[in-house]
Amino acid sequence: MAAAAVHSEPQPVIEVSGLVTHYGEREILHGIDLSIYKGEIMVIMGGSGSGKTTLLRHMLGLEKATSGSIKLLGRELTSMSELELYDLSKKMGVAFQGGALFSSMTVGENVMLPLIEHTKLDRGTMEIMMRMKLEIVNLAGFEHLAPAELSGGMIKRAAFARAVVMDPAVLFADEPSAGLDPVVSRSLDELIKDLRDALGMTVVVVTHELESAFAIADRITMLDRGNILTVGTVEEVRSSENERVQHLLNRCFEEEVLDADAYLARLFGESPRD
């Protein structure tokens, strides 16, 4: 998708303004401002401890922010009641890092669960929709298997099928290619693009995998220690003159080498050994 086309859309699907959050005494996000537009694939990148997963959890309504605003599909998430949030959840799909499939259910039952819970469709219709979504993620015929019988890549595909079964307006994916070999990882990248093209949804992907991010992103948001370093298209990020951006790109977000005290200080604000 061309970046110009993306920017021509006036109303963002997700709008984060001045988001600040703390874990205990420690400030994790220091005032994040970010807009994500309809139909784009936004990749949020950053190394370990950059705050990308925290930002994602806030966009999903799983964490309460200290201050700031998050608007999802025009509705303010931070002041929403639990029931309002459940209602809004029907319009978003999430593929978690480990798949988060329910081990007590088959793959088909996992994919059908949102339909069972939120629609009054008859069982036959739900099964047809489930099979269609499994076919989109290349898992046709796998509906009777248990999640434990699937490979890592298949689990993630099944998680995507469950995430899109309600045809959500926004799809979130947390580290979709983490722990997968390059071939499977590339096929998941293709799947994300195919899902966006086929279902016309907005996609937010959190990852630390550069290759994957560059392959799928319309725009990239780069986070570093709770701040946004840069937001732009792949080319804009690649050619950024910001030293920190280039430093992170060249190190491919490898974890910084910290000694134990520095690590604890970063985690708790100060080293408990002090």
Binding site: L60, G61, L62, E82, L83, L85, Y86, D87, L88, S89, K90, M92, V94, F96, Q97, G98, A100, L101, F102, S103, S104, L113, P114, E117, H118, F172
Partner: protein, 273 residues
């Protein structure tokens, strides 16, 4: 480290530990109480909120908690019934009152041992399973997945388990009453040369509805305790597989402790006056 002029920090650390433990315990109690309140809310208002409690998971839990526990409950309650009969006859023989063993067995089993042993068994079997399931689901982000799918975890996971436990534990206690009294009856009639009909008549004459209800009332409290302890412990999981193991063990220890303490308090409160 403290120099010689300062107070030894060890007692202070112990005091701090006790304080932290107390706060954690109160926190868990509050969480447990809010869970029961939430569960009741979803049970009653679920349909209005567009999330009714579905019967299938309740029946599935009832199968797991109740029906699949029948063999072990039968075996242990029969064994305890016979043991009570053996001990009773042995002790009462000294006073030439061995025929009075029926009193001890009938009251002992219905008022005390059947609910207690069934509660302990279900805590070990189903309370631990509940904690392990909740712990694993938390670690695997399945609880988060439920939330982002717009499915309330209390309605989806807690209410079916609580309902199933509240129905099946008293049902198992009734079964344990029957099995233990029948097993004890076979032993007593064989040992004392009494007819089975006489044993049954004597037992029925002795036992009132209140005695059976005493055991059943306790079992309802035990059911709520086992479920809440299993869920509170399961939800407190930290770390990976090791964390799940820890919360599972905690659920058994906490569940059995809660049952035994409640049993004593219940017995004390209901036998006054």
């Amino acid at each position: 480290m403290a120099d010689s002029g300062e107070t030894d920090p060890a007692p202070l650390r112990a005091l701090e530990g006790i304080g932290r433990g107390t706060v954690r315990g109160l926190d868990s109690l509050g969480f447990g109480a809010s869970l029961i309140w939430d569960a009741l809310g979803w049970l009653l208002l679920g349909p209005r909120r567009g999330q009714p409690v579905r019967p299938q998971p309740v029946f599935a839990e009832m199968m797991e908690i109740g029906v699949r526990a029948i063999p072990i409950v039968s075996m242990l309650s029969a064994t305890i019934g016979i043991m009570l009969a053996i001990q009773g006859i042995y002790q009462l023989k000294r006073f030439g009152a061995e025929s009075q063993v029926v009193i001890g067995v009938a009251f002992g089993m219905t008022r005390e041992f059947a609910p207690l042993i069934t509660g302990i068994l279900v805590a070990g079997r189903s309370g631990s399973a509940l904690a392990a399931r909740l712990g694993t689901m938390t670690i695997n982000q399945e609880i988060d997945a439920l939330r982002v799918m717009g499915i309330n975890p209390v309605r989806f996971l807690v209410v079916p388990s609580l309902l199933a436990m509240l129905v099946m534990l008293p049902a198992l206690v009734i079964w344990a009453d029957l099995v233990s009294l029948v097993a004890a009856g076979f032993y007593i009639t064989a040992d004392l040369g009494m007819t089975l009909g006489a044993y049954v008549n004597q037992t029925l004459d002795l036992l009132g509805t209140g005695d059976v209800l005493h055991g059943l009332e306790k079992s309802v409290i035990f059911a709520a305790l086992i479920t809440v302890v299993g869920i509170v412990d399961g939800a407190s999981v930290e770390g990976g597989a090791e964390g799940v193991g820890r919360v599972t063990t905690n659920a058994v220890v906490h569940g059995i402790t809660a049952i035994v303490l409640t049993d004593m308090l219940f017995a004390f409160a209901t036998t006054r006056g």
